[in-house]
Symmetry: C2
Subunit: 396 residues, 2 copies
């Protein structure tokens, strides 16, 4: 395998790439029902108090707390029940000394009342109640604005909207919200050796069934992007550079795989000024980046590592997403080793505090990707970890 | 708050619910481009060896290993280069003693050769090479079937298809695959107090903006299902039971929320024979289940807890998905306490080995959901955990 004259250290390559990309500024208003997974384009300020009024936090009786201070099990305080409200209704009755209003969790507090006595601490006989325990002013009341205050910033620009954020927006009265346009990502697969569909004769003759497009398509969708597939192209410099040109115009980012990145026929990058080409990562060492184009090694395991070490962060930046992969520290079940000078991406299976490295490590082996749910890194200055070491796993 | 006569312990309620549900048997053939996130309906057996032939694992020269045994830096072995192949081509030349074929990573091994000498360990002069190091038979060769063997079961029924599984299927020649039909989930929101759209006057009068539908819609989509929304219904027993009847016919599962589940107006369950109603979970205690219908408390935080403790597992079972949420053990930054007898669902923020409980715990507070990315459980027999305790977090 030919060595690159100079491998760019991973961290340096990562910074060059990230600094070169610009966040997409365009935003669009999207109805809440279609906004799951999208990225907020601006801070969201609440137009209302939520709850919009003081409400009962328990089922019971709205009272003036002062009336209950003397209440004891052996010496209950008697009050008149002057009204009863169900949730979503309100009472026009006003609570005054000696009076109570029956209500339910969520009911709007009636005028005059400043506390709620829980149903369990009361005995009711017809329209009288006997209160067995005192309540303090404010007790069992959910105050207006307790959840969210009017004018409060409830969500920040860059938030990725999960079901709970969408529910919050709905509860504040929003019906649509401004989110960033998704980054469009052109995918170009190159290589004379590749075929796109099963063809036994071609396979026997030495061709390879291309699968990196399926991998990239799914990964781009998973990480904020909208993939656009430009097909499998032959190793023809003119065809490839034309395709890159078109894809750059039509997309925010372009991913070009070359199955033979180390060989003589790696043509993809000729038309692009790369900021780096060849890094310390393994697998996926030949990765290059420049002018919104990633030139990546086409072997599936290399594609996968290159995506997780570079492309997912590029997409998060373009999308303007606040994004940090979930990491956990866990105990290694087997030793793993690496060559000094390599930033090695090791696929693992994480479960219940243990992390098991996936042994098959050839860069063409998709079956090993399938057995993994995360990765660990052996950095350039380390030769690996021992069985029992605690290591940091990044989960997909 | 009225107590249920008898609360079913969470584990028991969970089993009653899960035992009652049946996996959906229907499957459909779906093209690979639309299969991400779906659940495999049957085991997948590879129709081919992958790679389909022995191929070079490095760039270099295919040789008979026996020819190289004497090769040393100071005493190279000289061979004739009789052909050169690029990836995706093959050579008809046959390697015999004294001969070599130049090739690239991924090239099909020519007849007669049983090893590859790396380019770095060779000096080429015109059509001769000088080999500086010996190779063993099989060295630097990726053998046919090394990744996947013909007839091997590569994916199991119930697998949730991620980008890497789709890529594996594509690399084996599949263009479509049988996946389970998604569970259809009817969502019915009930409550006189609820309004569906912002209306300042109604809010002032005590109404509440409904948001649980948005929460459930997103959660159902996130966990294998296809949501169908039946609207916000008034507290009218006839209307609700008609809607449940229709939704049961049209869906695999029905979720009915009642904002007033503890109150007198909780009507949703009257038409359904529930296997349990009222459990030890908090929040969400009033949850009931029977006949493919969940009757759930309508407060957003309760909806959320009930979904994660019950409904997501119901959906995984219906979908036939092998599903296990990701859990991590982490250090608690603050003490958390709970009442004995409650299976308490505490929302937390997990990051870098630390888990911070979200303090706001009222069941109506959506803002607390937004600040969380997982949960911990305080089981019935525990009063809580101390600051610094190591606890198990389930990540959303």
């Amino acid at each position: 395998m030919r060595e690159f004259k100079k491998l760019t250290p991973y961290r340096r390559a990562f910074e060059l790439m990230l600094d070169d990309l610009e966040e997409i500024k365009e935003a669009e208003k999207v109805p809440l029902s279609k906004v799951y997974g999208r990225v907020l384009a601006e801070d969201v300020v609440s137009p209302i108090d939520s709850p919009p009024f003081n409400r009962a936090a328990v089922d019971g009786y709205a009272v003036m707390a002062e009336d209950t201070f003397q209440a004891r099990e052996y010496s209950p305080v008697k009050l008149d029940v002057i009204d009863e409200i169900t949730t979503g209704m309100k009472s026009n009755a006003e609570v005054s000394p000696g009076k109570a209003v029956k209500l339910m969790t969520g009911s709007k507090m009636p005028e005059g009342a400043n506390a709620v006595v829980m149903q369990e601490h009361v005995k009711q006989k017809e329209d009288k109640i006997y209160i067995l325990r005192p309540v303090a002013p404010g007790q069992n009341v959910a105050f207006a604005g307790e959840d969210v205050r009017k004018g409060e910033t409830v969500l920040r620009k860059g938030q990725v909207l999960r079901p709970q954020e969408v529910a919050l927006l709905k509860s504040l009265g929003f019906r649509e919200i401004r989110v960033r346009r998704k980054p469009r990502v052109g995918i170009i697969i190159t290589g004379d050796e590749l075929i796109d569909e099963f063809d036994e004769k071609a396979l026997k003759a030495g061709k390879i069934l291309e699968s990196s497009s399926a991998l990239l398509w799914g990964l781009v969708k998973q990480y904020f992007g909208e993939p656009v597939f430009y097909g499998v192209l032959p190793d023809d410099e003119k065809i490839i550079s034309e395709a890159i040109k078109t894809a750059r115009m039509e997309n925010d980012l372009v991913l070009v795989t070359g199955g033979s990145a180390f060989g003589d026929k790696d043509l993809a990058h000729h038309s692009i000024r790369l900021l780096f080409h060849g890094t310390t990562i393994k697998p996926g060492r030949p990765i290059g980046y420049g002018e919104r184009v990633f030139v990546i090694s086409g072997y599936p395991a290399a594609v996968f590592a290159q995506f997780h070490l570079f492309v997912k962060y590029a997409l998060a930046k373009l999308a303007g997403a606040r994004f940090k992969p979930i990491t956990v520290t866990a105990e290694l079940t087997d030793k793993v080793s690496s060559q000094l000078g390599r930033y090695e991406f090791i696929r693992v299976w994480y479960e219940a505090g243990k992390v098991r490295p996936i042994k098959k490590r050839g860069s063409g082996l998709i079956s090993a990707l399938v057995k993994s749910n995360g990765y660990i890194i052996i950095p350039e200055n380390s030769e690996g970890y021992l069985k029992g070491d605690r290591v940091e796993v990044t989960l997909y």
